[in-house]
């Protein structure tokens, strides 16, 4: 079974530029998550989708971050404009459904803002 695919793996941009990350979850998984992980810390939930609807986006800085999940499958996370403090690893995960099910993670995108 193919895992969660994320691209790109690495991205370096200057502050105030925009960037987009892409995630392809495991086929058939209804729930999709985007996390931000600062080096050495636990992942922070940015947004959680159930199919193509948003379950929670309370931690998403909506003035600069946006995310969508078209047709309840692939998802993109965008940052515009980027700030230095956005430097982090952005992890995408998916699970079969809500509840006690396991979340499967991609390898993440490491973003460096200079």
């Amino acid at each position: 079974e193919a895992g969660v695919a994320q691209s790109p793996r690495y991205k370096i941009i200057e502050k105030r530029q925009s960037v987009a990350f892409w995630c392809n979850p495991i086929s058939g998984h209804a729930t999709l998550y985007w996390y931000q992980q600062i080096l050495g810390q636990g992942p922070k939930l940015l947004i959680q989708f159930q199919n193509n609807g948003v379950v929670d986006d309370s931690q998403l800085p909506k003035d600069r971050f946006s995310a969508e999940r078209l047709k309840g499958v692939d998802s993109t996370l965008k940052i515009q404009p980027a700030k230095l403090e956005d430097s982090a690893v952005y992890l995408c995960a998916s699970s079969v459904d809500r509840g006690r099910t396991e979340a499967f993670f991609g390898q993440g995108t490491r973003l460096t803002v200079v």
């Binding site: 636990g42 995960a93 006690r100």
Partner: protein, 111 residues
């Protein structure tokens, strides 16, 4: 805002030693999961605990869920260098079903 506190934040031990890491919350968990994350990879699920007082074993790893379902521990017996990584607890919110991670414990096992 992180609601799950893990301790210790860092742990550096030699092979063969035992260790325990803790996960605490001020609220009751719906369910609690433990993940391990290696450098350059995403977290991988180790176990899910659901019932208060529950104990689960995975080879040298023992997971315990507090009776009141507000805390959990992970005990590793005779640590190996392959146990090195970031250990994360994660809870499902009762109300919103969000998957929230703790602050993490970084374990380094030296030969």
């Amino acid at each position: 805002t992180q609601l799950l506190e893990q301790s210790p934040q860092f742990l550096s031990i030699q092979e063969g030693e035992n260790l325990t890491v803790y996960c605490n919350s001020s609220s009751v968990f719906s369910s609690l999961q433990w993940y391990r994350q290696e450098p350059g990879e995403g977290p991988v699920l180790l176990v899910t605990v659901v019932t208060g007082g529950e104990v689960k074993k995975l080879k040298r790893l023992t997971f315990q869920f507090g009776d009141a379902r507000k805390d959990s521990s992970l005990h590793i017996t005779a640590a190996q260098t392959g146990d090195t990584g970031l250990y994360l607890c994660a809870e499902r919110s009762y109300n919103t079903d969000k998957l929230i991670f703790g602050t993490g414990t970084r374990l380094q096992v030296f030969p």
